[in-house]
């Protein structure tokens, strides 16, 4: 079924290009779907001649689809490799905080950055070692395709991989629910409106504050990518979406200059 949907999506997006881009296909990170879907109806009302389709599939899939011409706009919170980004323009949406959350009963609400690195890599096996309860550390992670994981492995783990013994959950929501209900769980989530039932970890001297989310040092930078050769209307759409006033309600904080 997945492959079939894949094919249909690819086929539809190719048709879009053939029809002089009267149809614009957006594809990529599902983290950006809510804000895009919020802004898109307003944009389409202003441009009745253009039809826009949006599909998820993940950051890597979005980047690949744009660079291979299968989609017009790729949503990604992963920084594309040099070879891929050369022919593309990026329209950043801001900063999406990534928060480190723990189960309520771990007895810790603050760790240093090196401690967090060792916890996530699986080097520290018990919360007692960082001053918490006597409970084994259960790392919960997203799959390799996740932008939040990409950021975590680069910024916290310094290029190492998340513990190979981590429980893998596909979505932000499932990961959050897993951390709530699994004793000793530690995971990371992209910003979400409510974080009840978990401990939001302070890392070093940084503590996450909803109102000052732009000060939190760990974030992805979701960006809309278009090919440099794309028609003006595609670039217009990407630029308009990246400036959407709806961003704030989805945790996208402005980047500090």
């Amino acid at each position: 079924m997945f492959f079939l949907q894949w094919w249909i999506a690819i086929w539809l997006s190719q048709r879009g290009i053939l029809e002089r881009s009267a149809h614009i296909a957006i594809s990529g990170s599902s983290a950006l779907l809510p804000v895009i879907k919020e802004e898109l109806p307003r944009w389409e009302a202003r441009h009745p001649e253009v039809r826009v389709s949006v599909t998820g599939g993940g950051s890597w899939a979005g980047l690949a689809a744009v660079s291979q011409g299968r989609a017009d706009i790729g949503m990604s919170d992963i920084v594309p490799p040099e070879a891929m980004s050369r022919g593309m323009l990026g329209y950043p949406l801001g900063r999406l905080p990534v928060l480190f959350i723990g189960n309520r009963h771990i007895g810790v609400n603050q760790v240093s950055q090196p401690q967090l690195e060792q916890l996530l890599a699986g080097d520290i096996g018990n919360w007692r070692q960082v001053g918490g309860a006597n409970a084994p550390v259960v790392v919960v992670s997203r799959p390799l395709s996740s932008g939040a994981r990409f950021m975590t492995e680069r910024r916290i783990l310094k290029g190492r991989s998340v513990s190979p013994r981590a429980i893998i959950q596909l979505s932000n929501g499932a990961l959050y629910k897993t951390v709530i209900s699994t004793p000793g769980a530690l995971g990371y989530v992209e910003w979400r409106p409510d974080l009840k039932g978990v401990v939001v970890m302070a890392v070093g001297s940084s503590r996450f504050d909803l109102r000052r989310g732009d000060r939190w040092p760990y974030y992805t930078e979701p960006t809309l990518y278009v090919r440099k050769s794309a028609p003006a209307i595609v670039k217009q759409l990407a630029a308009d979406l990246s400036r959407s006033p709806a961003k704030a309600q989805f945790g996208l904080y402005p980047a500090q200059p």
Binding site: F2, F3, W6, I10, G57, G58, S59, W60, A61, A64, A65, Q68, V138, P143, L144, S145, S146, P164, R165, A166, I167, I168, Q169, L170, A174, K177, T178, S181, T182, P183
Partner: protein, 290 residues
């Protein structure tokens, strides 16, 4: 144009439409086999046969494509699910058709049928909330495990399996049951030696359908199995199945990415397994009651 000629023309148009529909279906089927087969061929040409299907290590970014952990995951999850679900479904069928008054049967069938319509993602959330903590209590560890996936799947396939078993049991002629009882057999003997004996073939068929459903299930399994790419050495260890790993990696390995074709290999393995099951159903399904 006479009425007869008109009818003939309508018939020709109809014939053409039906032929086109059938041809389209066959073409789609061949396209699946073709695409997956071609992808698999390219995978083996690129990566060779060693360290692939029978390998134990899986890290597609580092070029390691061992699929044995997922094959073992798929097989054990399916086995657990069917072993748990089958006796339950059989009990439901026997209770509904032989024990309870006959006027309840339509209501039972409707209820079981509506259970069969619950989407699998709902079972996944339910598994996350109920089954994972239960398995954690029973087996220790995190609870995310092959056993949890097997239990969730078992609950998922019980309705389908019950429905098929009820239909099978309803096909047993009333006079056989009456005859058996009249000859002095107890109800238990009648159940074991007449009813169940005579519907062995449809029951086996139902079992194979259930195996197919369990083998192909993706979302509910992914949410409770833990998603680890290691070989699951016991049922309380986390693991992954062919389907759940395809779901995990489809975002990482888009078409054109290095290693993308390993997804084709996994999908082809599943397709082959399912096709084998279909052939099995056809062989058994040909037999009539008796």
């Amino acid at each position: 144009m006479t009425v007869h000629q008109k009818n003939l023309r309508t018939e020709r148009v109809q014939h053409g439409l039906f032929l086109a529909a059938a041809a389209l279906l066959i073409a789609v089927g061949f396209a699946f086999w073709g695409t997956l087969g071609w992808g698999t061929l390219r995978f083996f040409l690129q990566h060779g046969l060693n360290r692939t299907i029978l390998g134990l290590r899986y890290h597609p970014i580092q070029g390691e494509f061992g699929l044995l952990p997922f094959i073992a995951g798929s097989l054990s999850v399916t086995l657990i699910a069917v072993v748990l679900a089958y006796p339950l479904a059989l009990s439901v069928a026997v209770t509904a058709t032989m024990v309870l008054p006959h006027r309840w049967l339509p209501a039972i069938r409707q209820t079981v049928g509506s259970l069969a319509a619950i989407p699998s993602v709902i079972f996944g959330w339910w598994g996350l909330a109920m089954v994972v903590p239960l398995v954690r209590k029973l087996g220790g560890g995190t609870g995310f495990s092959v056993a949890a996936a097997g239990i969730v799947l078992a609950v998922m396939i019980v309705p389908t399996l019950s429905l098929l078993a009820i239909h099978a049991a309803m096909r047993v002629p009333e006079r056989w049951v009456e005859g058996s009882l009249a000859l002095g057999a107890t109800p238990d003997q009648t159940l074991g030696r007449v009813v169940l004996q005579s519907i062995r073939a449809p029951l086996a068929e139902a079992g194979i359908v259930a195996v197919g459903r369990a083998l192909g299930e993706t979302m509910a399994v992914q949410m409770v199995i833990g998603g680890q790419t290691f070989f699951p050495h016991n049922v309380f260890a986390p693991g992954a199945t062919l389907t759940s790993e395809i779901l995990n990696d489809i975002g990482l390995l888009p078409p054109g990415a290095f290693g993308h074709h390993v997804l084709d290999v996994m999908a082809l393995l599943l397709l082959l397994a399912m096709y084998g099951l279909v052939l099995l159903v056809e062989r058994i399904g040909g037999r009539e009651i008796g």
